[in-house]
């Protein structure tokens, strides 16, 4: 690497052949998901109605390495390996001694990291003869990624898109249409869960939790229809590890290793995918000082303000109970522009690590996040998605701290997607119309008592 190298690239043979499963290395084993009816640990059979066995096995596996099917690697070739960038212009602008690197996932066809899992999920469903997949989407990144994934394997796709985003980001919807998927604003009148919410509040902005309920309910109605989740679950985090595995190789290539890694968290998958392969080194003790920080929204701060307990993954309570940091499954997050971060809970894997203090978390207001995004666009050029901008904000803060303390740290973050469909949010920022929503954590403490009661394990 010379002093001008900006992109660290791998050739297509550098696409990982195996995903990394952090369940094999967790210091504290994951608490099992529970069947909400029996409160017993979930069995593979409980999930068969909505997921293919291939994914259920991954969900429950504690094997460290899981082979990526050739058919999936073939598709990965379209955009993987993604470049690792050195943010030289941002460093210069900040006058920081820190080295800033970012993995750029905006190069995939749908424009984000989400296709890393939509493709294998579609593949495993196809293998088991499924002809339709339903899902939910927040900002539309996951919906468009699944539309792309299912199109590649010739499966039909129906997407329940959180209404707030459906209105804000109409072109995400068009994108799904291009890839042949049906996209509906959630809550809809199609499902019981949707109707229940609409009855209470016809003007609801919707939420990921509600959309999940609708998609699951829809999948349960038909034998040949399955459901796919774009984040939160173990197998989703697993598929995303291609990001971190590639990044590790890219760092090896330039003989570097990050001191601190940032990723934004909504459901936790892009964060998991980027950081888990590095956390392996930390857990094994070869990189004990590695700092890993999850960046969340002040409007939806499940890690920094939530409760670590069993909760439903969705609004209506159709999903298994997951042990996670949660703001309560009935919490409807304010309509922040980072729609992908509007989720009440987080991946059980991420929560387990946070609870064990292996990772840290930090929360930001949306105005400061957009300040950072604009700084990034003005230096690095890329217009990032508001979700990824949360990580950018953390990186800038860290780089400025390095400047103050004169510590030349190596910083990595995952730039999870582009913001080309989020320009109306940038507009709102320039017009001074962003509201700095925040979660009234102190006041809410009591209301979390409404979570489902689980006997103490």
């Amino acid at each position: 690497m010379n002093d001008k190298t900006t992109k660290i690239l791998l050739d297509e043979e550098g696409i990982p052949k195996e995903w990394y499963n952090i369940q094999a290395d967790l210091p504290t084993p994951l608490d099992p998901p529970l069947n909400p009816a029996t409160l017993e640990p979930l069995k593979a059979d409980d999930l068969k109605a909505i997921f293919p066995m291939g994914l259920i096995r991954q969900e429950m596996s504690t094997e460290r390495w899981i082979t990526i099917p050739d058919e999936v690697r073939e598709i990965y070739r379209v955009w993987r390996p993604t470049p690792l960038y050195r943010a030289r212009r941002l460093e210069e602008y900040l006058k920081t001694p820190a080295k800033i690197y970012y993995k750029w996932e905006g190069v995939s066809p749908p424009g984000s990291h989400k296709s890393n899992t939509s493709v294998p999920q579609a593949y495993y469903n196809l293998k088991e003869g499924i002809d339709m997949i339903t899902t939910e989407t927040g900002a539309g990144q996951w919906g468009s990624a699944l539309a792309f994934g299912t199109k590649i394997f010739g499966i039909k796709c129906r997407v329940y898109m959180v209404r707030a985003s459906y209105e804000q980001k109409p072109y995400r919807k068009s994108m799904m249409k291009v890839w042949g998927a049906e996209c509906l604003p959630s809550p809809t009148n199609r499902t019981k869960s949707g109707r229940a919410v609409l009855e209470k509040d016809p003007n609801t902005p919707g939420s990921l939790g509600i959309a999940i309920s609708e998609a699951v309910e829809d999948a349960l109605l038909d034998e040949n229809t399955h459901y796919a989740l774009g984040s939160v679950l173990n197998h989703v985090c697993l598929h995303q590890t291609v990001i971190g595995l590639e990044a590790k190789k890219q760092f090896e290539q330039i003989d570097e290793y990050p001191d601190v890694i940032f990723g934004c968290v909504g459901g936790g998958s892009n964060f998991s995918g980027t950081t888990f392969p590095f956390l392996y080194d930390r857990i094994k003790g070869t990189r004990p000082d590695l700092k890993v920080v999850a960046c969340e929204s002040m409007a939806c701060p499940k890690l920094t303000s939530g409760l670590y307990t069993y909760d439903f993954g969705d609004q209506a309570g159709l999903t298994p109970l997951l042990k996670m940091f949660t703001l309560g499954h009935d919490f409807v997050p304010p309509p922040i522009h980072a729609g992908g971060l509007r989720y009440h809970g987080n991946a059980p894997l991420v929560c387990n690590l946070y609870h064990d203090k292996i990772i840290d978390a930090v929360a930001y207001y949306q105005t400061e996040v957009f300040d950072a995004a604009v700084t990034f666009a003005n230096t690095e050029g890329f217009i990032v998605a508001p979700e990824a901008a949360h990580a950018v904000k953390a990186v800038i803060d860290e780089a400025l701290k390095c400047k103050k303390e004169n510590t030349p740290k190596t910083i990595l973050f995952n730039n999870s997607g582009h913001g080309h469909f989020d320009l109306s949010s940038y507009e709102a920022y320039f017009d001074g119309r962003l509201v700095d929503y925040e979660y009234p954590a102190e006041l809410v403490k009591q209301s979390l008592e409404h979570l489902p009661k689980i006997p103490k394990s």
């Binding site: 707030a164 209105e167 804000q168 409807v332 109306s424 507009e427 709102a428 925040e438 006041l443 009591q446």
Partner: protein
């Protein structure tokens, strides 16, 4: 669509020339002293805008909007309406050019008898008060701002905005984005303001007015598409869930705080300060002394830190959380309760109109302590960070 229109011809002719109220020869005196008839100019701007907008709509959509104005004779309305192609009928005759607040009230009564859909008036806070005293919440009212001070929330931002709003309202289309909201009509002691520079504001009542959410891009999203009443109920539900036993809650005036009391099934004084403990009203329309007495009583029986909390909502179009309309919650009371035990609540609609919140407790150090960022509860489990400013720091 039937609109009642009146203007208070002397509104806004200026504190500078010492006009207060609407005594008999005020208009003459004002003109003699070189005051310009501002109200007529501002009303003309609004109606001109409305007229242009309606012609545009007619051209673009080929649609004639049936709008009928009912108004007062001469300077109180007719003189301006006749300049435009807006059909009107005079339903109240002004006997003299020297109009009074009685004229405003009587005209409003005539408009009501005519079953108008909205009353458009041009004036200041005083005119708003006169209109409200007759109309109450029965009809939406909209003010074309023309006073010297306008603290009431029934006014459009400026006359042009009033014209725009009204044209939208007249369209009466689904999706015309015009919504109704509650708006405070406030009572200010102008004399006090002129002589001592202090503003005493009391809420006179809540009228209904029309508004267009500012955010065109996101207009369909959530709160923008939600009426204020629903948001208020969400806030009230949340606050009622987080209220603890054994703690004294000092509840400030306003309809957002009243919603909290409603949720608890407690009858609250809309314009006064009440005290609630264990879900029951223990002090109604209390003054500073009564609040301090109750706090002392609580102090004697309790030792915990958090023995009381204050729940307030910003007041007036400027968004004062302390020092206007709730002076009973004095600096002494606030200090006793502690600034960490203040819960500010406001609907997103209200917060959107008030970029900053203000405090003016009369205690400079306390104002400084209160200044900075504060979390304002604006929905169920939802808050917004707002900046609090002491006007003395401006």
């Amino acid at each position: 669509m039937k609109i009642g229109f009146l203007l208070n011809p002397i509104a806004g002719m200026g504190g500078s020339i010492g006009l207060k109220g609407t005594d008999g020869d005020a208009l003459d005196r004002a003109i003699d002293m070189g005051g310009t008839p501002i109200a007529a100019i501002r009303a003309d701007m609004a109606l001109k805008r409305l007229n242009n907008r309606l012609s545009e709509i007619k051209m673009r959509k080929g649609r004639e909007l049936s709008i009928e104005f009912v108004t007062c004779s001469g300077v109180m309305g007719e003189d301006i309406l006749k300049r435009y192609d807006l059909g009107y009928k005079v339903v109240y005759n002004v006997e003299s050019e020297k109009t009074t607040c009685e004229d405003t009230r009587n005209a409003c009564q005539c408009f009501m008898d005519e079953k108008v859909d909205l009353i458009l008036f041009c004036g200041g806070d005083g005119t708003a008060r006169d209109v409200y005293s007759v109309v109450k919440k029965d009809l939406p009212i909209l003010g074309i701002p023309s006073g010297v001070k306008m603290y009431s929330s029934v006014f459009a931002i400026d006359p042009i905005a009033a014209g725009d709003l009204l044209s939208k309202f007249c369209l009466d289309d689904k999706g015309n984005d015009i919504m109704l909201k509650d708006a405070e009509v406030v009572d200010i002691d102008e004399e006090e303001y002129r002589t001592r520079g202090d503003i005493e504001i009391d809420i006179f009542g809540y009228a209904k007015t029309i508004y267009k959410p500012l955010f065109v891009q996101e207009r369909k999203v959530v709160f923008y598409g939600r009426d204020e009443e629903t948001c208020r109920r969400d806030i009230a539900k949340f606050i009622s869930e987080v209220m603890l036993n054994d703690i004294i809650y000092i509840i400030g005036p306003g309809n957002t705080t009243k919603a909290v009391a409603d949720e608890l099934n407690v009858e609250k004084t809309m314009l006064g300060v009440d005290i609630i403990k264990d879900g029951k009203l223990i002090g109604k329309d209390v003054n500073e002394k009564a609040i301090l007495d109750i706090l002392e009583e609580q102090e004697r029986s309790k030792r915990q830190d958090s023995m009381a909390k204050i729940i307030v909502s910003p007041i007036g179009a400027q968004g004062f959380i302390f020092g206007r309309g709730n002076q009973q919650i004095s600096s002494k009371v606030i200090r006793k309760v502690g600034i960490n035990n203040i819960i500010v609540i406001a609907t997103p609609q209200k917060l959107r109109e008030t970029p900053y919140l203000f405090v003016d407790t009369g205690d400079k150090n306390l104002d400084d302590d209160l200044a900075g960022y504060i979390s304002v509860v604006s929905g169920y489990m939802m808050a917004e960070r707002k900046k609090v400013i002491s006007p003395r720091l401006l």
